[in-house]
């Protein structure tokens, strides 16, 4: 198992913390991380909808990740809700 820290932006700021720390298996993909985060938020009864987790992207400082990307070894993970700049 590995611990991953995920930086939070936008509506995820409602959680009141800068980052979440989740424990996942070494083999986990971004899709697995998404499921893990949705379950975690349900368990703590956070005021964040599962829909928001499902429609958000995961990214590093370098790129937006694909669902099949392996999480192990990635640095500076973040979850990015749907964007609305400008």
């Amino acid at each position: 198992m590995i611990n991953v820290n995920i930086s939070l932006y936008g509506a995820f700021r409602r959680l009141g913390v800068q980052q979440l720390s989740l424990e996942i298996s070494d083999e986990s993909t971004v899709a697995d991380l998404r499921d893990c985060m949705a379950k975690y938020l349900e368990n703590i009864d956070a005021n964040i909808s599962v829909h928001l987790v499902k429609t958000s992207a995961f990214a590093t400082d370098e790129r937006v990740l694909k669902e099949e990307d392996r999480v192990a070894g990635l640095k500076c993970l973040a979850i990015l809700p749907p964007v609305c700049g400008g």
Binding site: A11, A57, L80, P81, C84, G85
Partner: protein, 152 residues
Amino acid sequence: MGRFNPMGKILVAMTESVLDVQKAIAHCRSEDCGAEILFIGTVRNINEGRAVSAVNYDGHKVLGEKILLELCLEAQAQWGDNMNFWVEHRLGVLKVGEESLLIHVTSPHRDSAYQASRYLIEQIKLRLPVWKEEIYWEGDTEWLKGQILNQI
């Protein structure tokens, strides 16, 4: 006689500082460019019928600046290497009327300048990791819905 500029200049930033139009113009103006397009986004006082007092802009600075640079390079590849760009997105709490986005493009000709400027704002709406939390006069706040980010 004008200077030939084989590769245009690009400056991008995600910043908490006030946007500076004069710096953008100074950066982009070039003797071989006869067209300049300046786009400024500002905070509007109403959205979906609600009176807005301010907007809190949240953003992923490192990834955001990388994406802004990619967008400018894409525009250069499509409309001309000799175009110049200054693109800044403001972060933090901005009051109504304050400038949130500055896109300045210079190009040898107007058509490419218009097209590149339009391309940048539309792609920013789709791809830039920025989020708006509207602050209403009644005192409540709301994170706005947006566009789902796709892997490029």
